[in-house]
Every structure is written in C-alpha cells, then in structure tokens.
Symmetry: C2
Amino acid sequence: MADTPDPRVTRSREAILAAARELLREEGPSAVTHQRVAARAEVGRATVYRHWPRPEQLLTDAMADVPMPFFLDPATPVRPWLERQLRMLADQLALPDVLAVTTALVQGARSEPQITTRRDRLATTIGQQLRAALTMAEQAGELQTACDPRDAPALLIGPLLYRSLLEPGPVSDDLIDRLLHAAGTWTAGSAISNPPAKRPTSPTTEL
Amino acid sequence: MADTPDPRVTRSREAILAAARELLREEGPSAVTHQRVAARAEVGRATVYRHWPRPEQLLTDAMADVPMPFFLDPATPVRPWLERQLRMLADQLALPDVLAVTTALVQGARSEPQITTRRDRLATTIGQQLRAALTMAEQAGELQTACDPRDAPALLIGPLLYRSLLEPGPVSDDLIDRLLHAAGTWTAGSAISNPPAKRPTSPTTEL
DNA sequence: ATCTTATGAGACAAGTTGACTCATAAGCCG
DNA sequence: CGGCTTATGAGTCAACTTGTCTCATAAGAT
C-alpha cells in the first residue's frame, strides 16, 4: 500500500532516534551528532543525514521522543489526587530520560527558538492542568484562600524541580504536604489541612 | 616582584574569561571553544590553549567567573529579611549571566564530575544559609511548625527556580509570601502570618 | 524475476581541534 | 636606555569532524 511506510525507513528512524535518546541521556545534547548517532545506531552516516539533514532537528526529535510528565484528569476529592500526581511527578523528574530532556529544554530555551517553544508548551500544558485541578478543589469546597492560579505551577512543581536538578534524591511525603499547604487551605475531609508537624523524612521508592 | 603576575598574562586571561562568559551567556556551553573565545577576545588561539589546555577547564572557569546568588547573614526579625533575600534571589535568577550558569550547571552536572561538584557546593551553601536563617527565626519565636530543614531550599527556592527556567517573567510579592508560608507559621510582628488572600499580582522591576 | 527505492561505504572539500615553531614585542631590571 | 626574559600570536601541520555526493548493493513491492 502506497501509504504504508517502507519498513526500512521505519527501522532506520527508530534505531536512530533510540540512539539519539541514549546519547542525550548519557552525555547531553552536545553528544547528539550525526556521526555519533550513526555509530551508536549502527546505520550509515548518510542515512542519518537523509532523515535529519540538520543536527538541531535530530536533537529536538530525540527530545520529543521522551514522554514528559503530565497530570491525569483531576478527580474529587482533589487533594489526595493531587498528592498522588505530585508524587508521580517527583518520580518522573528523577528518571534519567526525563531529566535529560528537562535540562536540555531549560538550557536550549535560552538560545534556540524551537526549544523555547517546546519549553513554553510544556509549562503551559502542565500549568493548565494544575489550575484546572485547583479550580475544581475550590468549587468542591475543598480549598480556601487558594494561591494566585498563575503561581500554582511554581509553588507545586518548583520544589520538585529544585530537588531533581540541584538536590537529587528521594522526595519526602512531608515535602509534598508542604507544597499542597502552600497552594491554599485545605478543609478537613481532604486529608490534613494544617501544616504538618516536623517528622522524620520517609524515604520513597525510586525507579 | 617575582610574585606579581606578568601584566600580559593578567590582560590575556581577563580578556579570555570575559569572552568565554559572553559566549556562555549568548549561546550556551557548546559555544565556549578555544577558537571562538580567541576570536571574541581578540587574542591568539595558542594563547587560549596555553592558559587553558582543555575546553572543560575554560568552561568551568567561565562559569566560576559569574557571581552566583547567595544570602547575606540573617538578621532579626528574620521574616522581612528572608522576604528581601528571596526577592533578591528571584531578581538574580533572572539575570542572563546567572541563568546561563544555572542551566549549564544543571545540564553539565549530569555527566561532568567537576560540574556535579560545583552544583552540589552551590546547593549546599545556599541550603545552609537558609537553614541558619530558619533556625534563627525559630529561636527568636518568629516561626512555628517549621518545615524539615532539609526541605527548606526546595520549598523556598524551588518556585523561584521554576519561574526562572520554565516561566520567565516578574515574580509577584504574593508568590514570595506563599513561599514563606510554606516554610512554617510566622507569628504576628513578623509580617503576615496567614496565607495572603488572592490579590492581583504586583509587577516587579527587573534589571 | 523485475523494478523501485533505501541503505551505506567511501570519497571529497571545507572546517575544526590541538600541538608546535619561531618572529615579534611586552615587560622587567640594572 | 640596552639587554634579557617571557608572553603573545600568525602560521603550519596532522588528525579528525562535518556535510555532501556517488554508486554498488540489497530490501521491499509487485
């Protein structure tokens, strides 16, 4: 069939993207060159050039190949849902693939318009998901004195990003409780509504 | 005097580091090569090689040349002091130089031991400063139910880092109030102790 | 079996990297 | 100010990388 792609093309592109992704994870964006990707993928250098004529295309496609964190549709009660989502986000941000793309996004966004666009899109998506969840919580009466919706991503994700980039290691339940508390006052019936007392950090499982 | 450096050496090194810093700010770490730095600094390529035989050395020295955010010694009442420090930190994190080094640190830390060390040192320094301030606040009776000291940097700096890297733009006073609130309960007499009501974001001046 | 199309080895030109030589000039010292 | 030391920088060189191209080979479809 004319619109079924040639299996050789499919095979080559998958091998190339997988190799690019590996190099990105192991050594960062500067390692994603046609020569190194061809060697790693065990394909001809010309094949890499044929599919991706410019190195920036190869890098951005390799980055796009990595599933980035997102939130599932919110559910009531919102607080335990959000707690789980933040826990999941913390775990995802610790994954080498996700971390590689995250750092490449923030680094590349400073000078590459295409990467700036991708970063903005990711921030917009995750921000909207969070705002929708907080709005739902307010409407359900779970949340009072909510923060400015524009500040929600920074308040709820910022600390997890900080941990991921500057202090890698397990993220405690206490920290996640604190994030939720920073977003506003949660009513009883949706878990703890006051700041939790200081207690020992509980280690969390990591992949 | 034998230990007074040759002014030619001083002049060359300053020109080279300034050029490296500019390229780092404008295009990121991959632009900091001997060839490009020599051209920008208007010195001989051999001179750059003589002072910095390997490109990693040049990059890390250029990064070290940029003053990174830090906190001044805490003062009581701690809360207004911390508020000012966080405001200052937000402003510094928006500076192109600081942003360039920040992104280079988190990117490079993934695969370069020397850069990992620098990142860890920065995180340790700023964390200790914060912990000292919060301890002082607790001892002065300003702060109750303080967060786990290990979580303080993530809670207080994380949102500012998030803004800097993923949502550049002015940081509101409201957001900074929220960070302080996340760190614990502040008593009356050290500014607002309850979560602030939602109010319009106040634009802040940026350099 | 035949035709179409993707692949890949290798060649080529141009550029980059790292090391080196040596002429020139900056800087110090008496 | 002359002599000596030392830093600089233009240019060279080998090795490597990048991007493009050719063409033989083989995969895939019919």
